[in-house]
Point group: C2
Chain length 683, copies 2
């Protein structure tokens, strides 16, 4: 039956198992770039706007600082990229920041990085989806009118896609990312051409608005604080840069070199796009305000709460391409799509990091198994649930969500770079080769500079954004940290409790004989099979046990037992309250009391069925009894399954589940052993 | 540890197990009456009002028909009581209408009765709570302003109480019921005294309102139809009369006689209260309308949607005792409490009927186990969920809910009485004793009259109420009927599939040898125990099996294995994808393929932990593996538990769960065997 229907399917799509394995091909750079860069590149869709928003607090004149802030972001980006190039060479195993911090700074630093990254993944989903919805909304008004609803729908769709384990391919990432990057570059080039060559005056839709400064004529410390706040908002452009350092195993050889090159390309693209958009925004006179309803003025009057503030990228596109033009709509769609892809990367990263944490026993062990569907599902549902909560609480407003975003990123940047400095120190202590030493000293300098700069930014972000929402992110990190510490403690305690004593002299607890009991309700195939298997085991004594809940049935059972001449004694337990579990537990305990050195083996015939609702109809007493028996010392419980015809359905389902491919397979590369010790490879 | 803390508890409340058993004392009549009568007696709180409501459609002049309708209800009540006195004598086992119908009319009739009763239990909860809230609301305005919320809160409280298994005592029922009955009688007596002796004019709060007849001057068929509809609404007073026939085993001896006497007392009380309230309503000029907002006029103008129509019983109490007087408030509180107790009886009846249906394999087998907490919980949650849904949909409006109520009651009345006629026919066919025959003929006549009258009422109810909501009740019955038929079919099919072939010649499927495999991840106490137990079983071959997910760990395991000199060969399976389940399943299958006549015994060491969150941290791979192994033919799976220290907590919890007392113990009486054949006892 099943074989017949399988044949055409196999011809069409190949053997499922094989194709699963084949899916893990290595990535060439041109595919690796979009796979890993959708997250960092997509942040140029919201980062420039955030800078203008904050500056607007001091009035439109403060917009003149935007090039300087862009410059600061560029410097920071180059620093971070240069630093991570060192990571990629030194840790090609894909452990990422968590591995670097743990190896070099100890378990607590590692756990801090892990907590930061977990929060970061949640924020990536929330911010990217919110921003994607806003970009889509600039082309489709319905979307922006039902922002929260649309954002939740997109999260649900992404979640379902990832739960089902949709097969990923590099192309899925490549097309929207290249369209997005291409579109932004065309926009910058066409804008520059129109402005510089044609001498056109391009005006953003908000160019005629005025901004009511919340603090007019800001100077001194207050101005510096505001500029720092604008800068930390601009740092949103750096989120996701670290992703490549987790994905080195997915690259073609030479892995580290290719990963480093891709990283540089990504950094270059990101800063060009970021600066280009900032420049176009200045040229086209984009006006953004933190509270547009009151602070944005049209002919001197507040614009009111009905106004929707479109993202900078869409305002600029409107100015350059014209409202409603094909390129404008294409760019809006590509931007939204890339942002959704960026959110999707968190769906891969979250369970992947979970599996690494599970290996170190900070999370449940089962998360460690690669491609375990259930484990992935739990992680995905947790991620989606938290992100949905944030989206709903913050009204899918990317500006408010971004306040929570950047803390985690810079915690892991700083700790990872600090760890790298330690890494080089350790290697320099033993390295004799002068050429290699020079190389290491250079790398150490880069990482040290990176650590200082990202640490400084972290302080700036914390100081300028703490009350704006960064405290929520910090609280989230603390919750993850505390939970993981508790789990690790539990595992350690259990490991101690179950540690085997040395030497083979632990015979005191070993039972000498075994007494087997087969549970019987009626005589049918499952019980006959259980009896046959029980006999095979040749235990010291063997008896059949039944509970008398209905005297008539028990009498019939006894008669059939004799008629069939079953050569196992049948013991009947009375149960005036029609209970099953209690009499059996009490009987087993009495056996143990009679001969405490003997073990009791309880053999339970079980039906194996194929549908969940059949489970409601069968085995319930058996399951409950099993649960209770496990608490009784000196007992072992054996299930002898009898596969009903319907179990075929479940067997097929289980097979399909085994062949399920976990999301994120593309960026993870083929299965490799994660080494316990970091390798000392470098470029 | 556990023993020490148990001592004071045992001194204080006695040994839990014993007290559980002692709780099942038999009921004297004075306690049995309130235990069983809260449901039927409480219906006088809403039934009189329903009669007036329907009559008001033809205008206030139609109120003159109310004594005639009351008379019809009295005749019906006496008929039903007389009929059920026969049931109580003939079927003292407590099977109730379901047993009577099944035994005498066959399985389909029985299942119809069961479906009707299940719907009826749901409606009892919904109607009683809605009416209780309305009565409470006549004294506390807040309650009536938040009707739906309050009703849902009461349902949730009742549900929690029943899920926790609060110990019931007869007193719990006795006090509110007697206060309620006493209050109503004092009201009737005091009202009669004031009216007849003192000559006071008592006026209900609505006495001055006029009613706008929806159909003025109704005559002929239309009038008869309206009167029949009013009568069927009045029949709400009969709901719950059948409850005693389910509870005969709970009575003191002579059980049947005492139950019959209690039934008569209950009938007498109910009709007296019903008629008294109808008479007082007529005297005090109570005005009720189906749509009070438009049809109730004050000084010729519609009273508007802000008006809350209080129940008749509370309007009458206000007229007799005075608004806000102590007796008025006491009666309102007692009425509400009795109505909530009536709802509570459904919480007992629903799972109890479920357990009987489970015995006949119409519902999952585990429901059959008496006092099984999980089974009761599922039933209770289903009941509460459905009732909540109805309360929310119908806005906790007792008038609208009552339209759904009466169908189920009369379906079971009619089928049960028809069954009784068959019962007497069968017994008359073999009975020779003339005195007994006379008795039987008399009983048959009573039951035949009861069957005809209730059948007639059923037709009337269906015709007059079908479009008003009776169709919902019928649909509910169909759903229950279809589900139970499907479950029974499933059980029958499985029973056929697993039926043992006759004769001992079924050796072809019996394995000849057994190959044991112990799963090992690390060497610790649980695995050492599993190895020791596996050796005890003396299977034909024994090997230890580990999956190589981490080469370093596997190497360490191998070395320790040799160092400890464990005399079981260790087999290592490779798993490049860090999977655990698949390699083991494939290995077991390969063993089976090599020697198909051998069985494979897989022995899994398991941690037993005490808290649900610990389950998330342990045994997950083991559980999944077990689930998959059960689908593999020729395999048995043995769990060797290792009880961690924390498992003590769960052991205690399980013990408490065992000692849990199921709700409804009081009305169910002590455990007795339910006979397969009806006894022929009679009065």
């Amino acid at each position: 039956m099943s074989k017949l229907t399988d044949v055409p399917k196999r011809i069409l799509i190949g053997r499922a198992l094989r194709s699963d394995r084949l899916g893990e091909t290595l990535l060439p750079k041109r595919i690796a770039l979009p796979v890993f860069a959708s997250d960092p590149l997509s942040s140029v869709a919201y980062a420039p706007g955030e800078v203008l928003l904050v500056l607007s607090i001091a009035g439109v004149s403060a917009y003149h600082f935007s090039p300087w802030i862009a410059l600061a972001v560029v410097v920071l980006m180059f620093t971070v990229v240069a630093s991570y190039r060192q990571n990629v060479h030194a840790y090609p195993s894909g452990g990422g920041d968590y591995e670097v911090a743990t190896t070099n700074l100890g378990a607590k630093a590692g756990l801090t990085v892990a907590s930061a990254l977990l929060v970061d993944y949640v924020m990536t989903v929330a911010v990217s989806i919110a921003s994607g919805i806003e970009n889509l909304g600039s082309a489709i008004p319905f979307v922006v009118q039902h922002k929260v609803l649309c954002a939740v729908v997109v999260i649900v769709l992404l979640t379902l896609m990832n739960l089902r384990g949709v097969k990923e391919s590099g192309k899925l990432f490549a097309i929207p990312t290249y369209v997005f990057v291409g579109g932004v570059f065309v926009m910058i080039a066409w804008g520059a051409f129109r402005g510089l060559v044609l001498g056109d005056t391009m005006r953003a839709p908000t160019a005629d608005y005025q901004i009511k400064a919340e603090h007019q004529g800001l100077a001194g410390f207050a101005l510096i604080f505001l500029l720092l706040r604008a800068f930390s908002s601009g740092c949103a452009a750096l989120t996701g840069v670290e992703a490549i350092s987790n994905g080195v195993p997915a690259f073609r050889k030479p892995k580290s070199k290719n990963a480093a090159t891709t990283l540089s390309m990504m950094g270059l693209l990101a800063v060009t796009m970021f600066c280009g958009i900032i420049a176009l925004a200045a040229t086209t006179n984009v006006r953004m305000a933190e509270n547009p309803a009151t602070d944005l003025l049209k002919n001197g009057n507040p614009i009111g709460s009905g106004y929707v503030q479109n993202p900078v990228i869409s305002q600029v596109a409107e100015a350059v391409f014209g409202k409603g033009s094909f390129l404008f709509v294409l760019l809006a769609a590509a931007t939204a799509l890339v942002l959704f892809l960026a959110a999707n990367t968190a769906y891969n990263g979250f369970p992947l990091l979970g599996s690494i944490l599970a290996q170190d026993r900070y999370l449940p062990r089962q998360l460690h198994t690669r491609g375990d569907r259930l484990a992935f599902s739990n992680g995905i549902v947790l991620l989606a649930g938290t992100a949905t909560l944030l989206v709903v609480i913050y009204g899918a407003d990317s500006t408010r969500l971004i306040q929570l975003y950047i803390v985690g990123v810079f915690v892991s940047f700083t700790l990872s770079q600090t760890g790298m400095v330690r890494h080089w120190n350790r290697h320099l202590a033993v390295e004799k080769d002068q050429a290699k030493r020079r190389h290491m000293i250079r790398s150490r300098a880069i990482n040290a500079f990176g650590a200082c700069l990202t640490g400084l930014v972290l302080v700036v972000v914390l100081v300028t954004k703490f009350t704006h929402g960064a405290w929520v992110a910090l609280m989230g990190m603390c919750i993850f940290y505390a939970t993981m510490t508790a789990i690790r403690k539990h595992y350690d305690r259990v490991a101690e409790e179950i540690a085997a004593p040395e030497g083979p002299s632990d015979d005191s607890v070993r039972p000498s004989r075994v007494h087997s009991v087969v549970l019987i309700s009626k005589i049918h195939r499952p019980t006959l099979r259980a009896l046959a298997y029980a006999k095979l085991m040749r235990s010291d004594t063997l008896e059949a046990l039944t509970v008398n809940v209905d005297p008539a049935e028990t009498k019939a059972l006894r008669e059939e037992w004799e008629r069939r001449g079953i050569d196992v004694p049948l013991k009947v337990l009375d149960s005036p309250y029609r209970e099953i579990t209690r009499p059996i537990i009490e009987y087993v305990k009495s056996l143990r009391k009679e001969s405490p050195r003997d073990a009791v083996s309880v053999i339970i015939p079980e039906y194996v069925v194929g549908h969940w609702y059949e489970h409601l109809l069968h085995n319930q007493s058996a399951l409950r009894l099993k649960g209770r028996l496990l608490f009784t010392a000196g007992v072992m419980v054996t299930s002898v399954p009898y596969q009903l015809a319907s179990s075929e359905a479940a067997r097929n389902r289980a097979r399909r589940r085994q062949e399920w491919s976990a999301p994120g397979a593309v960026r993870r590369g083929p299965a490799v052993e994660r080494p316990k010790e970091p390798s000392a490879a470098k470029d």
